[in-house]
Amino acid sequence: MLFLSNVINGLSLGSIYAIIALGYTMVYGIAKMLNFAHGDVIMVGAYICFFAIARFNLNPIIGILLAMVVCTVLGMTIERFAYKPLRQAPSLAVLITAIGMSYFLQNMAQLLWTPNIKVFPSVVGNGAIKLFDGQLTISYIALITMGACVVIMLMLSLFTGNSKMGKAMRACSEDKGAAQLMGINVNTTISMTFAIGSALAAIAGFLLCSAYPNLTPTTGSMPGIKAFTAAVFGGIGSIPGAFVGGLLLGVIEILAAAYISTELSDAVVFMVLVVVLLVKPTGLLGKKISEKV
């Protein structure tokens, strides 16, 4: 029963990774860049939620929507001013810019909101469902997180599969030049991808801080790195890959903490990543892209 309970906790943690990883993976799929600042957009989203809900006593739904709007604008602004000018630059330059952006957001948050911890309000309410005579308890927040993750994943799949914008996105990720020839506005599409990724980040920020309520300017960075690992793990660029990668990573992390050592759980997570990349360099569900000369 302890094992089952650990697996459920892992799935709950993994769902958060998965939502963050979706943001990474979409951007990578289209812009072919690792948006290192994604984790920090999550942090900004969480702060907006915090201020809306705890300081201004707004309805949590309004708080989340507000955070989504702010994050979307933020994500698009970052893309416009920091990443767009580097579209043609080598990937190293783009990656360094993204790291710089991540530092910028963290330090800006520190100046604006002080490094002191803010405790995220409990919107969902404490409590749990008890199964098997109370031997297995699943907290409400874990249920909501897992539910949200599945819903988001399904909606994204539908969106990219069926909508016009989604098809444009897929076309851009396949071949930007050809997409442009077919009349797709590549810049708008990339911008749109950042917008969606950032809106997802706001939701992720809310869920992350609902489960782990200590909010600081560095809140987003470690989950960001882990989710990024999850995205690579599942095959970066692939939406189902991010979902599977996130969930697996969460479960591995919790099981490693429970059965190997809490101190080594991070190391185990990263080792699994290394092994997967060695066996399958494009990740679990990634597509093999042959190099062009």
Binding site: L86, L92, L95, G100, Y103, V232, D266, F270, M271, V293
Partner: protein, 373 residues
């Protein structure tokens, strides 16, 4: 004519290399004179060794990022390996070799060797990947190394060395002491005054790198960076040369780590985290990829500057971030790059004109002489 040109360009690199050595030596001499005159503040005195450490870190990372062309986000991991292995050896030898300087030299070598071994172990999987995947795996290895050292227990007593992972599984005999106490790290080390050794180490690393870059292997490495497929097709062994650059870079970082450890009385693995890797990357980027002199200057200045600007420490990291983004945008902005190119062409034209004019004068003189005869 071709031969002449090559000679000139070779001379140019050698000259430029000597300027770099000159800067390092001059900085050392100036500091020694100022210290002898008692004009150096305690703050700067305390910073001398860290400056050496970060300079070595920067040039070694520049070898990986600038020369090899692979982004490493876990360079602090090698530094950590070097720091801990070097410090442990130094503490073990405390009774055998009471003199601090030879002990430090041994710890530097040991640090470099251990980091090189880890470099090989990390390099085997890492160098099979490319680009972003490679970057994320180096990041992963940085974290793995940090986690492993955090969970390492090493104790020393009369029965010899004791070692365990995760939990301390041994009991030390009377008079024994813990060298690495798991997450608490190293403590009770003796500080060594190692500025001069640091400078020598910088010069040594520079020499190795310059020599490598100008050698056949170095040209192979750079060919791989510029176009892997083309290089492979002319028969350059990818794994061998990549591994060579990577391991040399790791060994240097290890020596830097051992030097770093010698300057502090306590040390924790968490010091060598992602942020430290990024800090060094900032030095490399600001100094210019592939430009060793730039790395030396950037690392030295950026280690001193924040200390001078203590009053603005809130804004320090923010300024770093902005500068990092700014430099990338400016150097990779097509418009600005074009402008720079034009300036370069103009300069080239100017110098070409000058050369032509000089040549003409010479010719005129020579013909005049001939005619005079």
């Amino acid at each position: 004519m071709k031969n002449v040109q090559r000679k000139i360009s070779l001379n140019k690199t050698t000259k430029s290399n000597f300027v770099t050595y000159g800067i390092v030596i001059a900085a050392f001499v100036i500091m020694e004179i100022l210290m002898a005159a008692g004009m150096v503040s305690s703050l700067l005195k305390g910073l001398l060794v860290p400056i050496c450490v970060y300079v070595i870190m920067a040039i070694s990372l520049n070898l990986t990022v600038g020369v090899l062309g692979e982004l490493s986000l876990g360079h602090a991991g090698f530094m950590s390996v070097g720091a801990f292995s070097g410090a442990v050896v130094s503490m073990m030898l405390q009774s055998v070799i009471p003199d601090a300087i030879p002990r430090l030299l041994i710890s530097l070598v040991v640090g470099a060797i251990f980091a090189a071994i880890v470099g090989v172990l990390v390099g085997i999987p890492v160098l099979r990947l490319n680009g972003d995947y490679l970057a994320i795996v180096t990041l992963a290895f940085g974290e793995i190394i940090k986690s492993l050292i955090t969970n390492m227990y090493i104790g020393l007593d009369e029965n010899g060395l004791h070692f365990s992972m995760i939990k301390q599984k041994f009991e030390l005999a009377e008079g024994g002491k813990m060298l690495i106490d798991g997450p608490i790290g190293l403590s009770g080390m003796r500080k060594v005054d190692s500025f001069a050794i640091g400078i020598v180490l910088i010069l040594l690393c520079l020499m190795i790198i310059f020599h490598l870059v100008n050698s056949k292997s170095g040209r192979a490495i750079m060919a791989l960076r510029d176009n892997r497929i083309a290089a492979e097709s002319v028969g350059i062994n990818v794994t061998k040369y990549k591994m060579m650059g990577f391991v040399i870079s790791a060994a240097m970082a290890g020596a830097a780590g051992a030097l770093f450890a010698s300057n502090y009385s306590a040390l924790q693995a968490s010091k060598f985290d992602f942020n430290t890797s990024i800090l060094v990357l900032v030095f490399v980027v600001l100094g210019g990829l592939g430009n060793m002199r730039g790395s030396v200057i950037a690392a030295a200045l950026l280690t001193v500057l924040p200390e001078l600007l203590r009053a603005f420490s809130d804004y320090r990291m923010l300024a770093y971030a902005i500068v990092l983004i700014g430099i990338m945008l400016v150097t990779h902005n097509p418009a600005i790059a074009d402008r720079l190119k034009q300036i370069k062409i103009k300069q080239y034209k100017k110098s070409a004109d000058r050369k032509a004019a000089a040549m003409e004068k010479k010719m005129v003189r020579q013909t005049a002489k001939k005619e005079g005869k």
